[in-house]
Symmetry: C2
Subunit: 411 residues, 2 copies
């Protein structure tokens, strides 16, 4: 009975069903539904990330300039990014020191370093996996999964200081935070709120990951938080192995069966003994093969209309990183771009009606064509002006102005 | 139709109904339901707060020692408290400086100071009140209200440095964050998770308040966040005037009609033009007059069984601050105490069944006696062992141990 209610308030007290979403109903498989040639994947250098390349001018001088302001040009994403930057030094108990936080000028670490002795009763991997997930849900995560940390999911070098990365951790805990359904309903996909949606989830999942990593260190195990301001890991393969989604047509984007692509993730890597989750199969490879709505609607034509390829050992739909980065960083009619998130048929609220559709899309393959057809028919993917609540504002040379394309109703 | 769904996923796009909870159905009144003699209330010195008094030995040497460890003695509340402490320097754009956050040794402020020019279209108080609330909901607040900041709600002096407080702000925005229904169902009220519940809400509401205050400053208006690690205001009168609850039998605790007493609040004070909410009347004075369950169950007998008194200009049920503080700080069989939160009949999940009971308790006075009787009969207020997810642990001289009264099922 309680399962018809939405995630937050359901009874979540049984061993198989303590997640807010009914992840126990998902089909589990031994390997991700897209092939990963574990021995062929080369670790990537964080300095080769699209944003890093834009910053050093690989995509031209315009984007090299815009990348310095593309998040801060809207005041709300600017404030969320500042908070993410503060959290960037709280990942491992080493970064931020207390001279700014103490009244006595001490310079000890603010957060816990690894406790000298392990807490009693923390050595059972199955018990601890459940405990860590329930702790992450208590901290207001929307979805959580655990996997072995594949070595290829570590960046080879950090973009901040160019140092080689070698994490001493066996496991990864992935924490997803929703980008807000109501806002996703209201925005066009590439107007002035898009970066705020990203950084809401970046900063909030980072906040949770920093607290969780600190807690694990206090239990006597090494742990590091990885979030948008301080990743040392590549997120998508971790989400695949942790059973939080499948690779999608969008390219490097993983889609979760209950949140769709409407989330960002933070990761905690640790040597705490943890039982791992298995990858999931909810039919997304078949679905994305048929749907192609993201490719049709992408304003930069970065998403492919054709089939999957093998790239660096991963089977995936290819994405044109330069076009995608150029749109997000260079967008002059908005802040960022999440049009693929907006139009994806899996971006829905978790209501009884959509839950029923969701179940059939997952479990009854012939229904998928009808769901894709119906999604357009019902107008999903179009902005709902009633749901718009934010201010269209742009910081131009230190002063906020109403951009030319503003559609604010109340002024 | 969407109103039977729980808060997060309902359609929240109409002008009168954009809050997650249906606050538009509440009865509004001109003044709080408990008398406040505005001209008689003396501003209180933060150094006279129960915890401050315990710290300086007013309640004896045992509590003066215990106050240094009563939150940190459990590892999860310890980690949450550390995060709250980090947020303590992010309240006004002046505190934390960037030498620890920059790679270039600059010492500028990390967060925004007040922008030199006001953002266009931000001078309509009604429009901005709705916008600020919708922004706070986007940032994952559970309930938000706005009031004029009463001068008596400012502390006279700060407990951190003893300096006099004089805020230049006309309005207060109150942000409530739930302490987690599932945990509230599982705990006894005074076991090892109680402080974690408090600090989950303290740190999360503080996180939201710091981002919101920074955003308001970027719009060109002065704003300061106030949260558990850095309050300059007294919270209860702000919650009353902002229409977020009524004074309860517990004493200085305000009860919200949808969250009960299961929340903590952070405040943003600002000179942004804002329309204010009106106080609410959901029958709590009559309810608390009859119920008395908190007084019956309080392990320290701090809550009175009799009628209201006038104290410092406020009409309120008296509470024995020394007994309450002694229980929370000195509890040797747990970390903190929230038994009054646990047993209150308003501490319920927001499900269709409880929403129906909630409506009748608010609107049909004769039902209240039956609801109070039924609450005991149904076993509410007792811990549900199936909902327990946390580890009973106590830090004793730097080492985590399983306390003697642990009821962990899995070890």
């Amino acid at each position: 009975m309680s399962r018809i209610f939405s995630s937050k308030w359901r009874d979540r007290t049984s061993a198989e069903c303590y997640d807010p979403f009914p992840v126990h109903t998902l089909k589990r498989v031994d390997r991700p539904t897209t092939s990963i040639s574990d021995h062929l994947v080369q670790r990537t250098d964080q300095r080769e990330h699209g944003f890093a390349r834009a910053g050093r001018g690989d995509f031209g001088p315009f984007l090299a300039g815009e990348i310095k302001r593309f998040v801060q040009k809207h005041p709300l994403s600017g404030s969320l990014r500042t908070m993410a930057a503060v959290l960037g030094r709280l990942v491992d108990g080493e970064g931020l020191i207390s001279r700014d936080l103490s009244y006595r000028g001490q310079t000890t670490s603010v957060m816990n370093s690894v406790a000298a002795t392990k807490a009693p009763g923390t050595d059972d991997p199955h018990f601890m996996a459940r405990h860590i997930k329930e702790t992450a849900y208590f901290l207001r995560s929307d979805a959580v999964g655990i996997c072995d940390l594949p070595h290829y999911a570590e960046y080879s070098h950090s973009s901040s200081d160019g140092k080689p990365i070698d994490l001493p951790h066996k496991h990864a805990i992935a924490i997803l935070v929703d980008q807000d359904w109501r806002t996703a309903k209201g925005f066009t996909g590439n107007d002035w709120i898009s970066n705020s949606m990203s950084f809401l989830s970046y900063s909030t999942s980072g906040f949770i990951a920093c607290i969780l990593a600190d807690y694990i260190r206090s239990l006597g195990y090494s742990a590091r938080a990885h979030h948008a301001w301080n990743y040392q890991v590549v997120v998508p393969p971790i989400l695949l192995w942790a059973g939080l989604g499948e690779m999608s047509r969008v390219g490097d984007i993983v889609i979760n069966p209950f949140l769709g692509p409407r989330f960002k993730a933070a990761i905690v890597t640790t040597d705490l003994p943890l039982a791992v989750d298995k990858p999931i199969d909810f039919g997304l490879q078949d679905f994305c093969d048929k749907c192609k709505k993201c490719a049709r609607e992408c304003p930069s034509n970065a998403i492919c209309n054709s089939g999957k390829v093998i790239h660096n050992g991963y089977e995936k739909w290819p994405i044109d990183v330069e076009k995608c980065t150029s749109m997000r960083v260079g967008n002059q009619k908005g802040s960022g771009c999440g049009t693929c998130i907006k139009v994806c048929p899996w971006n829905k609220p978790y209501t009884p009606f959509h839950r029923m559709i969701n179940w059939t899309m997952r479990n009854v393959p012939p229904v998928r064509n009808m769901a894709i057809w119906g999604d357009d028919l019902m107008g999903y993917g179009k902005p709902d002006p009633k749901a718009k609540w934010w201010l269209d504002l742009e910081n131009v040379n230190g002063e906020l102005r109403v951009p030319g394309n503003s559609v604010d109703r109340y002024r």
